[in-house]
Amino acid sequence: MSVTEAPTSAIGTPLLRKEDPALLTGEARYTNDLNVPGALHLAVLRSPFAHARIASIDVSGALQQPGVVAAYTGADLADAWAAPMPCAWPVTEDMKNPPHHPLAVGKANYVGDGVAAVLAQTEAQALDALQAIDVQYEPLNAVTDLEDALSDRVVIHDDLGTNTSYTWELKIGQEAVDAAFREGGAAFTVKERYIQQRLIPMAMEPRAVVAVPQPFGGDITLYSATQIPHILKIMTAITLGIPEHQVRVVAPAVGGGFGSKLNVYAEELLCMALARKHGVPVRWNEIRAEGAVATIQGRGQIQDIELAADENGKVIALRVRLVGDMGAYLQLVTPGIPLLGAFLYAGVYDLPEAYDFSCTSVFTNLTPTDAYRGAGRPEATYAIERAMDALAAKMGIDPFELRKRNYIRKEQFPYTAFSGLVYDSADHLAAAERAAELAGYEAVRAEQEQRRQAGDTKHLGIGMSSYFEMCGLAPSRVLASLNYGAGGWESATVRVLPTSKVQVVTGSAPHGQGHETAWSQIVAAKLGVSPEDVDVLHSDTAISPIGLDTYGSRSLAVGGIAIDMACDRVIDKARKIAAHQLEAREDDLDFEGGTFSVKGTPDKSVPLAGIAFAAFTAHDLPEGVEPNLEASCTYDPPNFSWPFGTHIAVVEVDTETGGVDLQRYVAVDDCGVQVNPMIVNGQVHGGVVQGIAQALWEEAVYDDDGNLRNPTLLDYMVPSAAEVPSFELDSTVTP
């Protein structure tokens, strides 16, 4: 049910991706593929203890090893940092944020915390030399459990005096909440605890960094497997004390991120600092098991959720208490992640102003957490949907029936939520009914009951989840109210070249999402050119200087609109030139299919190609019109976008072995107009599998001493094709 605007429009077409040929043939260059003559290789020695004082570090042994050029401790590099590693989201005025540097000084606070670095001629030499560094550790008790962290039995960061980083609250209608949960208050209440286990992002491309200095040219180029070249430029400039205009950041082909490459990492800063110090390029490749501890992890929350409902099951109040696991330090947006869910714990339901949310986040002796796959929002959806099932069970009614009684109804949109946020449009019931129809909901429920009655050892489990997701991050003013350290706009430039080919410069930074294809479709539809004639430039701050990058489901919803609006400005300018050439008034011109024509006199026309060339030669432009045909736009969205839908899973559970076999998975999603439905479906497939994997297989398992038990792909269960089924997808579009 995808929408096509007009038969000639490129919007809504499953155009094959222009990114593919380079990726399919091995021609694409990821950071690790770059050939940089003379580069030294960095290797980082990491703490094997989750919590230990560093009594001494002796790097002299490493310096004796073949190929080794230098070796450093954290203390050696203390002068290299103009500022600590950045946390851009101080969620409260009194949030506690310990100083965090690329190499630990004095104490190691998680397994994987970098304590020393080696530079050598080859990667193997650098890694070998790590073994010759002598570190004397004095192990301390590790804090690995969130409630233990809250107790302050062991305080990780001495100067903070506590493990609690912050408490953040959102309380709306406290009296109504208290009344509902009072003894004899609401007809039904449920209280549930859910654990969001830590996840390891495991993007298929490990992180990689190359820093290339030009000491006499006065600048430095950082190539990094990152989602955020623009933010990284600003942050590395600040952290290293380099003037921002002397830093160029390039994200070459990037092999997936899922939030894990939305950060400013120690290795990026080390490569840059050491490249400047030595005056030669420095590079680093993450090893998979190293990345499991040195790259941020996802999730990590205890969720206590309470629902109160009236006698019909209508939810009347909601209370949520979170404990968020920050890990040992605050990375770029660590503290904000649980709060992104704060607005979504009521899910798709018509909750009155009776909401009591509080999140206390604590430090642990574990790898820092940060954004991963939905970042706080899927956690909220999981909790409310599980709690709704618990409420349905308590009331003895079908979970779908309970949802029907609570969905925000289509006619209530635009809907002002309890939080004050406005949801623009949705039809939850329609999406859910479509999913139920596809899944044969009634039939599988009947079979479920029949197997129970028959005492079958294999039972059916049926999971239904309806969701809203707060996407298109984000209106800058809303971010300001959340104390976020930047805006949420996106920038675009559209440039029609003299030969009528089109360049688009975007501030988004794709790493698998197909922006080159989708953005081409937007421009093609607007300007009446072929998508093949559009070149999308991105991910290099020398080419695309302004941008806020790709994360938080923002690139199309914010960056795509910036492109659309820049196209409008190009058309406005072209219209002036066309009017001049056709000796007509601007408002007498139609623009369609890439051609301006005089209304009522279609043979009086000029194609955009002709205007582009005229704008280039500038021989005969109307008064006040500058040469060349290009326009820029920076778009700040007035609201989030609110995609929604319902997914249904049918699993068979062997009650004797506990084995779970996922038999059916139906997803009905509504993300509005789809620019390229093929790409949209691909995004859904990937997201669904990561969700299934969290439900069934994935967890970063730590022992009580803070050792990660499953750091490799042998023992961390990223599913293969053999573990998952094919999916049944459909979509709705709600105006």
Binding site: Y30, V254, G514, G682, H685, G686, V689, S726
Partner: protein
Amino acid sequence: MGVVRLRIEVTVNGTTHTSEVEDRMLLVYYVRDVLGLTGTNIGCDTSSCGACTLHVDGESVKSCTMLAAQADGTSITTIEGLAKDGQLHPMQQAFHENHGLQCGYCTPGMVMAAVGLLNENPNPTEQEVRIGLEGNLCRCTGYHNIVKAVLAAAQQGAPA
């Protein structure tokens, strides 16, 4: 413990190379760092992910499980050797047409494994494709379109 260097002769994508390699050098590093064929990717260090899959004498091999020295005398095809005369190999074309890739990092290995799979079983069922590609991990696509692509290539009788 000195470094031992060995002389090997390997034919890669039709060109014969004679090289001196360190005894501990893995085949994937030989292909990438010595020959400069960086299409073969490294995604793990436990032979789990399959990103480095290529063909040795016509069979799919995870090139991190083999020493360069062991490849002496063999004929190797990497992802760079698959497209011919500027045309994508039918398996590459099938991945393209079925959106069987997103970030592309697993793709060279996945495509090589898929070609190897059809060499052994030209008409696999969906389940056989899923099990056949078990050794290749992808984090973006959820495999749905990869499986579709391989089945489509099989239906078109994709040659090796």
